[in-house]
């Protein structure tokens, strides 16, 4: 019998719906409550839950600290990159109207989608990174501490 069998099984069942919900919140943010910040936090929670139940090393195999560091910066770069794309296409910084010259409203949709994606990537990576930094200071949570 592995310890915390119920926790492990329930976590395995819950993990994919949590990640799916994060993507739903991310890409449905234009139509319903939510957006990059909330989606990033939910996605981060999925990784943290995995790390809590299956151990930090298992989680680090899925999202290594190196990847987390890169993703943290990548999100901000995507956000600023959308701004620069607007700049190079003849508009102002972060002006989404010019992203689709034939239809400014579609340009707004593109801009919002990519910008929210950048927010989501940075937020989820930062949440997981902060958790790694805190949890990594304790060698392992012993069974008595649960």
């Amino acid at each position: 019998m592995t310890p915390h069998l119920v926790l492990r099984v329930v976590t395995k069942i819950l993990l994919s719906p949590i990640i799916l919900f994060a993507f739903y919140v991310q890409f449905h943010g234009d139509f319903s409550p939510g957006g990059g910040f909330q989606a990033g936090v939910i996605f981060g929670v999925a990784v943290i839950l995995y790390a809590l139940v299956f151990g930090l090393d298992m989680a680090k195999k899925v999202f290594s600290p190196r990847i987390i560091q890169i993703l943290m910066a990548l999100g901000v770069m995507i956000y600023a990159g959308v701004g620069y794309v607007g700049l190079f296409m003849g508009g102002a910084f972060l002006d989404y109207n010019v992203l689709d010259p034939s239809n400014p409203v579609h340009g707004q949709h593109y801009g919002i989608m990519f910008v929210e994606m950048g927010v989501g990537i940075t937020v989820s990576a930062v949440m997981v990174g902060i958790f790694y930094a805190f949890a990594g200071r304790n060698v392992e949570i012993s069974d008595e501490d649960w």
Binding site: V25, G29, D30, F31, S32, P33, G34, G35, G36, F37, Q38, V41, I42, G44, V45, I48, L52, D57, K60, P65, R66, I68, Q69, M72, A73, G75, V76, Y79, A80, G83, F93, L94, Y96, P104, V105, Q108, H109, G111, I112, V115, E116, G118, V119, T122, V123, A125, V126, G129, I130, F131, Y132, A133, F134, A135, G136, R137, N138, V139, I141, D145
Partner: protein, 195 residues
């Protein structure tokens, strides 16, 4: 259900939730067992999220539930692993000045609420100028149903970029201070982490 019955219900829910919030805050102040304090803190966030839903601020409620109820609780628990489980008893010096300051500030704030515009008043300053402008322009210019997203990502896109940079900077600060186990071996983390 008539309009008035619905309105009364909303007020009733408000009062119940605010009572819960008050009880949770009081419990946090009184309790000395830090694990319970963190857990009640999570309850506080969840109840305030419900309170925001009742105020029709679903986006704020969502963020509060995810960040306050989820991440902060987990991070505080992670911090709790590194410290003791029990708060030290404070050195009690009964002084009347802090109580006086709290009472005066509190009554000033309550007095200030009498001048606040009514809830859902369309002519209140928050709804009248920029807010109304966004509400009118969003269907025409951006055409997304959720005006909050339109304001957040498009009209105030520059602010949101700053917020993302703030989140990034916070993560960077923690990584610079604590590291992520990249430089030292995980087994000897505790002893050699003074880099």
């Amino acid at each position: 259900m008539t309009f008035f019955a619905e309105f009364d219900m909303s007020i009733f829910v408000d009062v119940v939730l605010l009572t819960f919030l008050l009880m949770a805050a009081f419990a946090i102040v009184v309790m000395r067992h830090l694990f319970s304090v963190v857990m009640v803190g999570g309850v506080y966030s969840l109840v305030s999220a419900a309170f925001f839903v009742n105020l029709d601020a679903v986006d704020v409620a969502f963020t509060e539930a995810a960040v306050g109820g989820g991440i902060s609780t987990v991070l505080l628990l992670g911090g709790l692993m590194l410290t003791s489980r029990r708060e030290k008893l404070p050195v009690t010096r009964r002084s009347v000045i802090p109580l006086l300051a709290a009472v005066v500030t509190g009554s000033a704030l309550i007095y200030a609420t009498f001048d606040m515009p009514d809830f859902e008043d369309p002519d209140s300053p928050a709804n009248a100028y920029v807010g109304r402008d966004y509400m009118e322009r969003t269907p025409r210019e951006i055409d997304v149903p959720n005006v909050v997203t339109a304001v957040l990502a498009s009209y105030r896109g520059f602010d949101t970029m700053g917020e993302t940079a703030v989140v990034f900077t916070a993560g960077l600060g923690v990584l610079v201070l604590l590291g992520m186990g990249l430089r030292v071996a995980p087994a000897t983390d505790k002893e050699e982490d003074g880099t």
